[in-house]
């Protein structure tokens, strides 16, 4: 008994020192926080961001790291809840991490960005599209995705030039993303002389839209722009078809999701959407797309490549400046252009991309989409 204890104790000691040694080595790596929803109803979008960023980190580490350091991605869950996002931001600062990819939902990024700017943490979001995030004059906040305002104006232009509806309805889901987009589209079209006959909100989580559809029918609507996410639009499409209300719909990138096909089925055919360019269709990215597929990860999500690009620009800046100080990196990001998986990009004074990455697509019932010329 004493013997086994002795050898057991030695093993423990060995394991302990090995662990200590390993963790020492870990301490040399550059930690990058990846903040987004891991749990909750929009977890699949957080997943897109995560696989994009982690793939970039993995590939960079395989190529030898940055300036001799390995990168380490640490996942933080904010469940798309502003309160949890604030807690996550505080935790990231506590954990001495000064580079963050995230958050995802605009309502989470908004309060978190206040903390990051205050505490000197560089933040690049690959998914938050609300314009207000970069309107506060912050130095350290960037994004590798287009703005809602760009998405909205693209949609409005398309509606004005190609759809030319006689009786337009604009519906939204009363959330920041959806209502913001819907308001932008409505106002832009109104300025061009197309007044919306209906402008209404629905409650997210609601399942029964028969009343709304009857109202749309009654008002003889011939085109609907929907600002919001796929669960509600899917149900609206499905129920519209059942009730014989067959008009074209258009939505933002929040509805471009394979789940939309599951919910709406055939009713999804022909729905228009503005979405980031499908970077996974770009032949230049074929190797990367294959790498994702080899790991059973879906590269077609709208935030996968922007997240990858975010890591790219961050590490390019680190390599070029030779340091990891967020302020130095921020200066470098603003002053230069980068060759990334989402194309050649640059940042303006506010931290937004200088080029628009959105396009108009027609969605199909099998989940695929075709690009329409603008």
């Amino acid at each position: 008994m004493k013997q086994t204890f002795g050898s057991f104790g030695k093993t423990l000691l060995a394991a302990g020192s090995l662990l200590a040694a390993v963790s020492n080595v870990q301490a040399e790596s550059l930690k990058i926080g990846i903040a987004g929803p891991v749990t909750g109803p929009v977890a699949q979008y957080g997943d897109m961001q995560k696989i994009g960023a982690m793939m970039a980190i993995r590939q960079i580490n395989e190529a030898g790291g940055i300036n001799g350091q390995t990168l380490e991605g640490i996942i933080y869950d904010d469940a798309c809840d502003p309160k949890q996002a604030v807690a996550v931001a505080n935790r990231i600062v506590n954990d001495d991490i000064r580079h963050v990819i995230g958050h995802l939902c605009s309502s989470s990024t908004e309060p978190a960005s206040d903390i990051y700017e205050e505490e000197g943490v560089l933040m690049i979001t690959a998914a938050s599209t609300s314009p207000t995030i970069t309107e506060k004059g912050y130095e350290l906040i960037f994004r590798t995705i287009g703005l809602d305002s760009l998405q909205g104006s693209l949609a409005a232009a398309h509606i004005r030039d190609h759809v030319k509806p006689e009786r337009l309805a604009v519906i939204h889901d009363k959330q920041q993303y959806g209502e913001g987009l819907a308001t932008t589209v409505k106002d832009l079209l109104a300025a061009d002389g197309i007044e919306a006959e209906m402008f209404e909100g629905v409650t997210p989580g609601d399942k029964d839209f028969s009343a709304l559809i009857a109202k749309l029918k009654r008002n003889n609507i011939d085109f609907v722009y929907y600002g919001g996410y796929h669960p509600e639009l899917g149900l609206i499409l499905r129920q519209s078809r059942e009730k014989g209300f067959d008009v074209p719909f258009m939505g933002p990138e929040g509805v471009v999701n394979s789940d939309l096909a599951a919910i709406a089925g055939e009713a999804m055919e022909g729905v228009l959407a503005t979405a980031p360019k499908s970077f996974d269709q770009n032949p230049e990215n074929s190797a990367l797309t294959e790498a994702f597929k080899a790991r059973n990860e879906d590269p077609s999500g709208p935030f996968v490549f922007p997240a990858y690009a975010a890591i790219q620009v961050m590490t390019d800046a680190i390599k070029a400046t030779g340091e990891t100080d967020p302020y130095a990196l921020a200066e470098y990001l603003r002053a230069n252009r980068f060759d990334t998986t989402i194309g050649e990009i640059g940042f303006d004074a506010r931290g937004d991309l200088t080029e628009s990455t959105f396009m108009v697509y027609r969605l199909h019932a099998d989940g695929s989409k075709t690009a329409l010329s603008e």
């Binding site: 028969s210 009343a211 899917g234 009730k243 919910i263």
Partner: protein
């Protein structure tokens, strides 16, 4: 008929459909409250579990190659009823029975805890994302001048009406004609006295929970087919609306629950018809508050005398 009349008719049809499902779930609340005076917060989750079970059964049968739609639906209904009833029974047995007779606050907390527990239990088991099934029963009839407004009634809506009607009738007959039904009524009137007269009140109470759960399961199957999508959080809102319906009709009264459900459904639909749809929920809650303030016993309820 004028255009407005047709439009109102359509909204009435929509309202009656959703209202009948509220009624089915509301009966569970009202029966339990009538007998043991407790609000079963977890009832909405039992409805949600019924929906999930129906989905699992339907997809499972389709995967196994069963072709006949009526058989699939029937089996889904039976399975959902069995599983939900088991849940109703188990919840009562485990969480509520030990607390009977104590202060009223305690079972309420337990019920809230149970509701949260079940929501997350299903979330962990089946994922928090929406799960969607293609429409199994589609199409319907429509009438009315297309130039004015075309009213459409889908087959699914008619199925919902008929199944609800059959269930309500079955329940009404059971309560009024059978021995167990009589025992239920006796327990609702005076629990202690019924116990003294030799009826096993524990079993009757358990039966009440089972019946409520079974009806909620029926609603779950119907709505699962009607909407085609489910997630673990649908129980909360449905439960709240159904509870509003039960209170509206008079909590403790089964016809009241039926009436309350229909009224709530129609009110919601008509509100959405003439005002922005986002105010649908406000109307439901405001109705609840107003009824409780001005007529707490509801439309068909009997005023409760509090004995000193």
């Amino acid at each position: 008929m004028s255009e407005t009349a047709l439009y109102v008719l359509q909204q009435l049809i929509n309202g009656l459909t959703i209202g009948s499902t509220y009624a089915l779930i509301a009966i569970g609340y009202t029966m339990v409250y009538g007998i043991i005076g407790m609000i079963n917060f977890a009832h909405g989750e039992v409805y949600m579990i019924g929906t999930y079970t129906a989905f699992i059964t339907i997809i499972g049968l389709v995967t196994m190659g069963v072709g006949s739609l009526p058989i699939i639906l029937l089996l889904a209904l039976i399975t959902a009823v069995i599983i939900s009833s088991t849940y109703g029974y188990a919840i009562e047995r485990v969480a509520y029975r030990p607390l009977r007779g104590g202060p009223r606050l305690i079972p309420l907390i337990t019920a809230i805890g149970m509701s949260i527990f079940l929501q997350n239990y299903i979330r962990l088991a089946q994922g928090s994302r929406d799960l969607a099934m293609p429409s199994l029963i589609s199409g319907g009839i429509s009438f009315g001048d297309p130039a004015l407004f075309e009213v459409s009634i889908s087959w699914m809506q008619m199925i919902i009406w008929s199944v609800t009607l059959v269930s309500m009738t079955a329940l009404a007959l059971f309560i009024s004609r059978s021995r167990l039904g009589r025992a239920c009524r006796a327990c609702a009137q005076d629990l202690k006295m019924t116990n003294l007269l030799g009826i096993d009140t524990n079993r009757i109470i358990a039966l009440t929970f089972v019946i409520g759960a079974a009806l909620a399961a029926v609603a779950g199957v119907l709505l699962g087919l009607y909407y085609g999508t489910i997630n673990p959080y649908i129980g909360f809102m449905a439960g709240l609306k159904a509870f509003t319906a039960a209170v509206l009709g008079g909590i403790g009264s089964i016809p009241g629950a039926m009436l309350g459900g229909l009224i709530l459904g129609v009110t919601e639909a008509l509100t959405a018809a003439f005002f922005p749809s986002e105010y649908k929920d406000v109307v439901a809650f405001s109705l609840l508050v107003l009824i409780l303030l001005f007529r707490p016993t509801g439309l068909l309820g009997k005023p409760e005398v509090e004995k000193v």
